[in-house]
Symmetry: C2
Subunit: 158 residues, 2 copies
DNA sequence: CGAGATATGTCAGGGTTCTGACATAGACGA
DNA sequence: TCGTCTATGTCAGAACCCTGACATATCTCG
């Protein structure tokens, strides 16, 4: 046994993973600056586009931030007229958010830019390897109990 | 052409990448709490172990934080007696840091725990796929100009 | 030799996110 | 029915990290 009880930075998957995540974050940050969106703000809009009616807590989990942080994001976007939320909850406490036409337009622009970044990121990989990379990363997340587990600051399910 | 101008969260490499990075961060955070180390602190110690004599700025780049943040980390670790730095620079302004015996012992313990996490993370992958995952992530970083490029907050080379 | 470029360490300030806590709303089981 | 548990939204406070700026130390080139 004895699978090296130590980590070599040069070949460590974890270290390389962090490096890639940082690089991606930086690239998205730069790309979103022209449209005046932060990464969490973009993530919020993108989530709402693909799954309309998500609540604050659900968006928080999907964007990997706390409810409190997402709450601030939602307020900011709402003030800018990019999304709407009912002032009162029809059921429970959750207030489902939805994109406005303005928000939809802005998202379209931002999403196109971000998609280009992702394409650039994986351009040197074969389509097969692109897919495997995504699959393997998902396996890694699951192995760490990432989505359905404990910390991070995500709660259970989406 | 026209490689989908939009991103699907379920199959997006970028989204999955972020998810995995967050999960890893959370797992490391939890694992390092017993030894009273934050992730940046651990990263600093690990870097110093593998490349003794690194300066503050070099450590900052290696740990993906700014010089200012790493400066605080170094001070904290120095106060705890885990590393030493010459009070005066023998050349230039850089003051090379080195682990103390205490720091080395604590790092050994922490490193073992972190290595276990990394192992758990990639356990479901074949050794071949583990290696390819690391290689592909490195390609992604390079494609984004991650290490030698522009933002993030890394400067040139290490 | 001296001006400019690069890199380092550090101080000050601000912003973003998190942790902790509380009240409310629905689900479930004794 | 009522207590318990879970989930949500929100307020307050603190911690962390970054941006901006400045002085210093080398190196390079005219």
């Amino acid at each position: 046994m004895a699978q090296e009880a130590r980590v070599d930075l040069e070949t460590s998957v974890g270290y390389t993973l962090k490096q890639a995540a940082i690089a991606l974050r930086g690239a998205m940050d730069a790309a979103l600056r022209p449209v005046n969106l932060s990464v969490p703000q973009y993530a919020c809009l993108e989530l709402l586009d693909q799954r309309p009616g998500l609540s604050n807590a659900e968006l928080a989990r999907g964007a990997f931030v706390t409810r409190q942080s997402m709450n601030l994001v939602l307020r900011g976007l709402q003030e800018r007229g990019l999304l709407t939320r009912p002032t009162t909850a029809s059921q429970g406490r959750a207030r489902p958010a939805e994109l406005t036409a303005t928000g939809q337009h802005l998202l379209n622009e931002a999403s196109r830019t971000v998609a280009q970044i992702e394409q650039r990121m994986i351009a040197s990989l074969t389509p097969q390897n692109q897919h495997r990379l995504q699959q393997d990363l998902a396996k890694c997340t699951e192995a760490l109990g990432g989505t359905t587990g404990s910390k991070a600051p995500n709660g259970p399910h989406l």
